[in-house]
């Protein structure tokens, strides 16, 4: 409980850092953000009025206070370009992004754990050199294919050529297949590499040898001795991969025209729509941080040792 509490404190601190960073971002941008956003034709009056609307003419501390207050009450401001409330956009778009990221994450874990473990068993102690060779090369290849390239290729083959899947949108179940595959391949490859390395460490541990000396059956050794002990390290990396997945959705959504948050962000950056960028970064960042904490706490409960390294 103490551990969970301390972890919560760290989460809050991280969220504050995130808040501060997104707030400062707007003020660090060279030039006047409003001027840049409205373009050169905008008259000084227009700029001044928009500045006032956005509260940018207030002293900095007050701006920060309003910003924090706004975020806490769910008010992320209005888009400079469309003037629509950012929160509206987030609430309609963000669930779609999660709908893509969550099954992808599950699949990554479900694929990487057994594959990594199995390869570790087959390649321990210098055995199965060609298995190791193939594993390293194949995962290396998958790792080197960025999700947006894979998405493009998949789209080329299955949408354009074979026409087996819908081109865009998320209105049917089959529209999930290609984006999820594109998202899963790379992270699954890199996580299975990590799982293999961790499993090799655990398989060489003295307690696994001791279990073998007691002639415990292989299945029991795997479930009770190997799996729980490689879980902590693997899932710690797993959360980093989750972070990568959420970023990956940004790109993959663009390929498949997925109505998530990713299709908005590049537009927002190009149009310099700062309140929107702030909102998106905040929501995505907070999601990552919260998920990280959840995984840490769950691991802390499952494996008491993992608490020792924290804080």
């Amino acid at each position: 409980m103490v551990f969970a509490g301390r972890r919560l404190v760290r989460l809050v601190l991280s969220l504050l850092v995130l808040l501060a960073a997104t707030f400062i971002m707007v003020h660090l941008i060279p030039g006047d953000p409003v001027q840049t956003a409205l373009g050169d034709q905008a008259t000084p009056q227009m700029v001044a009025q928009r500045r006032h609307e956005l509260g940018l003419d207030l002293p900095l501390p007050e701006q920060l206070w309003r910003y924090v207050l706004g975020v806490v009450t769910g008010d992320f401001g209005r888009s400079i370009v469309t003037e629509a409330p950012v929160s509206d956009l987030l609430t309609t778009r963000f669930p779609n992004t999660l709908l893509l990221a969550a099954p992808a994450f599950l699949l990554v874990i479900l694929i990487a754990m057994p594959v990594g473990l199995l390869t570790a068993v087959r390649t321990r102690g210098g055995r199965g050199r060609h298995v190791r060779g193939w594993f390293v090369n194949v995962t290396g290849l998958l790792n080197s294919i960025p999700d947006y390239v894979l998405a493009t290729v998949l789209s080329l083959v299955f949408v354009v050529t074979i026409k087996a899947f819908p081109a865009a949108g998320n209105d049917q179940l089959s529209s999930y297949v290609l984006p999820v595959v594109a998202l899963v391949a790379g992270p699954a490859a890199s996580l299975s590499r990590i799982v293999r390395v961790e499993a090799l460490k655990v398989l060489d541990a003295e307690y696994v040898r001791a279990a073998k000396a007691r002639r415990l059956p292989a299945v029991l050794r795997t479930w009770r001795y190997v799996l729980p002990n490689m879980m902590t390290a693997s899932l710690t990396y797993g959360t980093m991969i989750l972070a990568g997945l959420i970023a990956g959705t940004v790109l993959v959504e663009n390929v498949f025209g997925w109505p998530g948050i990713g299709t908005v962000i590049s537009q927002a950056v190009i149009q310099k729509d700062y309140p929107l960028i702030q909102g998106i970064l905040l929501v995505l960042g907070a999601t990552v941080l919260i998920l990280n904490m959840v995984v840490d706490v769950v691991l802390g409960v499952l494996d008491p040792r993992s608490r020792l390294g924290e804080l």
Partner: protein, 633 residues
């Protein structure tokens, strides 16, 4: 046969891919970055509206863009931009990250603060960070390099911090401090050289990642801006036309994947070279044992080991043999100690008996029997027999217990699995076992995990687990080496008492001849994988026959030594498991060695009743002249 060939071909391919191919690819990319713009630059920028938006054709292998420019030429020319920006981004990220990492590792106060910041940053997806920084630095080449560089910095900082922390705590850095060297000297002479290799490795892999990240930014339209282009930009342009002329997306895709793969593999290859993991064909040459007369064994022995040999293929394809030739037997209730220095093969002997030698290790023996079971051809019944009747205690009591399960689970497992006991009965028995090894408050300890116990207590638990079956033989592999002397005493007393109660035999392995002699009826001395001497404890201590045994006895400091005399000492090193000598393996260090010792190997001969030694010039002459039957196991 076919399978073997396929596998060897697969193996060769695997080696080729991870071997020379990355180097060739890196060189190709370097060449293209340097030369491509001057060779294909014109093709890449020559617009020809007549040929705009063409698909794959003989004239334009990869099609043309909306201005009729050749996609292939553009992709090749874009190599320079893509790679130079990637290298720059890696350098930016590396410099910032390594600097931060070094700083935080050097000062304890900074370490906490920076560590926390790095922790937060590293949790963020690099792409989000890059977008954040792209907003800050502006959209374009400079912006995207800085953005990707900045998003790499936390990773670099983390790895530098971890590596530096591991080097800083090394004793050679502390020694440098003690010798009066300042922090700058320590950083540049000790720390940087020792962390350089993994950092270079990490950087190499990151060039590949940077290519992907920069292309990703360009793909989103946040990277380089027209008329400048890189692969991501080309892919982005191609994507909009994917339904009309699908071919145009292929060339940049292939380029991006190939670049990523190249640097990934180059990193792998580097790490293989650094780690010295050169792949070598597994050598498996089986040697037939020289036919030696092996007399029938004394009947009714509990454990019977004849001409045991354990070998491993070494990295260079040769064979190493940590156990060369070991023969002994152990009667029921008997306590036998195996003494030897590190590398003598004593622990490997125990591992072979307990069936713990794993592939690619290879156990050969003329006979290896425990009770009724042939350990060379174990079946299912043998597994249960061993599980019930053979118990093992390990050197490091903490390492030998699974940190993820309760102490109690360790205890009941053998009883439930090998004795078919019910969980409730097993638990009752487990509590009794904990009580028997003098653990106070067994009910509480039963529920605890190993990290909540002290070292001595963990070793008690290790012994208690052995009590859960019906142990006929306890193999204890250096069970007290990791413990303090007072705790060692407790554990030895416990092993002694429980041995008497359960009437189990004991095979006690230790480097400390004094400890062994406290507990064992008979002592076996091992050197370089051989048994060099075996005798009743008293007889061995009183009249050692092998010069090595006598050195071992004389060199062990004991209470009441004459301080005016130097200790008996022999310099030099035990021949390693890869040595292959024709004669006695101790000859090079032996004060009594002559040419015979160097050229032919002494057999283990009976010198007196129960006293055997493998020496041409034993210190105690054989009581009976060695008969042909005297050549024994």
């Amino acid at each position: 046969m076919t399978a073997a060939m396929t596998s060897s071909r697969g193996h060769r391919l695997g080696r080729a891919v991870s071997g020379g191919v990355p180097l060739v690819l890196v060189l190709l990319f370097v060449f293209l970055s340097v030369a491509a713009p001057s060779i294909w630059g014109n093709d890449a920028s020559a617009s020809n509206v007549a040929e705009a938006n063409q698909s794959i054709s003989a004239a334009h292998w990869m099609g043309t863009d909306d201005l009729g420019r050749d996609i292939l030429a553009r992709t090749v020319v874009a190599t320079r931009n893509s790679l130079v920006l990637a290298v720059l981004a890696t350098i930016v990220g590396g410099c910032v990250g390594i600097g931060l990492g070094l700083l935080s590792a050097m000062s304890r106060r900074l370490s906490r603060a920076l560590g926390a910041v790095i922790n937060v940053l590293i949790a963020f997806p690099a792409l989000l960070l890059a977008i954040f920084f792209a907003v800050l630095f502006g959209i374009g080449s400079v912006g995207s390099v800085l953005a990707v560089g900045a998003s790499f910095a936390p990773g670099f900082a983390r790895i530098t911090q971890t590596l530096t922390a591991s080097v800083v705590s090394k004793e050679y850095v502390e020694a440098s401090h003690v010798l009066g060297r300042g922090p700058l000297y320590r950083t540049f002479r000790h720390i940087l050289p020792n962390i350089a290799e993994p950092i270079i490795l990490y950087s190499t892999i990151h060039i590949g990642t940077a290519v992907l990240a920069l292309s990703g930014l360009s793909f989103l339209g946040l990277g380089v801006q027209p008329p400048v282009y890189d692969w991501g930009r080309l892919l982005n342009d191609g994507l909009t036309r994917i339904y009309v002329t699908p071919g145009v997306a292929i060339a940049p895709s292939v380029a991006i994947v190939l670049a990523g793969l190249t640097f990934n593999l180059a990193g792998e290859r580097l790490s293989d070279l650094i780690g010295g993991r050169r792949s070598a064909p597994p050598a498996r040459r089986r040697e037939s044992r020289p036919a030696e007369p092996s007399p029938s064994l004394a009947g009714g022995s509990l454990l019977d080991v004849r001409h045991l040999r354990v070998s491993y293929p070494a990295a260079d394809g040769r064979l190493t043999t940590p156990v060369r030739d070991v023969s002994f037997s152990l009667a029921p209730k008997e306590r036998v100690g195996i003494v030897g220095e590190s590398g003598s093969g004593k622990s490997m002997t125990a591992a072979a008996i307990a069936q713990l030698v794993e592939e690619p290790g290879h156990v050969e023996a003329e006979a290896l029997r425990f009770m009724d079971a042939d350990l060379l051809a174990p079946d299912r019944a043998t597994q249960h027999l061993l599980g019930r009747n053979m118990a093992m205690v390990f050197q490091d009591p903490g390492e030998a217990l699974n940190p993820a399960i309760k102490i109690g689970t360790h205890l009941i497992e053998p009883a439930v699995i090998h004795l078919d006991e019910k969980k409730q009965d097993a638990k009752r028995k487990a509590l009794d076992a904990l009580r028997a090894v003098a653990i106070t408050d067994p009910a509480r300890r039963y529920e605890q995990h190993q990290h909540e116990l002290s070292g001595g207590m963990k070793q008690r638990v290790g012994i208690a687990i052995g009590l859960m079956g019906e142990a006929r033989l306890l193999i204890a592999d250096e069970p007290t080496t990791a413990l303090d002397v007072t705790v060692q005493r407790q554990i030895l007393r416990l092993i002694d008492r429980l041995g008497e109660q359960t009437e189990a035999g004991l095979l006690f392995i230790s480097h400390d001849i004094a400890v062994v002699s406290e507990l064992c009826d008979r002592v076996i001395v091992m050197y370089a994988g051989f048994i060099v001497e075996e005798a009743k404890t008293g007889s061995l201590l009183a009249s050692p026959a092998h010069p090595y045994t006598s050195v071992l006895l004389a060199a062990s400091p004991r209470m009441g030594l004459d301080k005016s005399e130097p200790l008996m000492a022999i310099d030099g090193r035990m021949p390693g498991p890869d040595a292959d000598l024709p004669g006695c393996y101790f000859a090079a260090r032996c004060p009594h060695a002559d040419s015979t010792c160097l050229s032919s190997r002494p057999p283990l001969r009976v010198l007196a009743d129960g006293h055997r030694a493998a020496c041409w010039h034993p210190l105690t002459e054989p009581g009976n002249a060695p008969t042909p039957e005297g050549v024994t196991i």
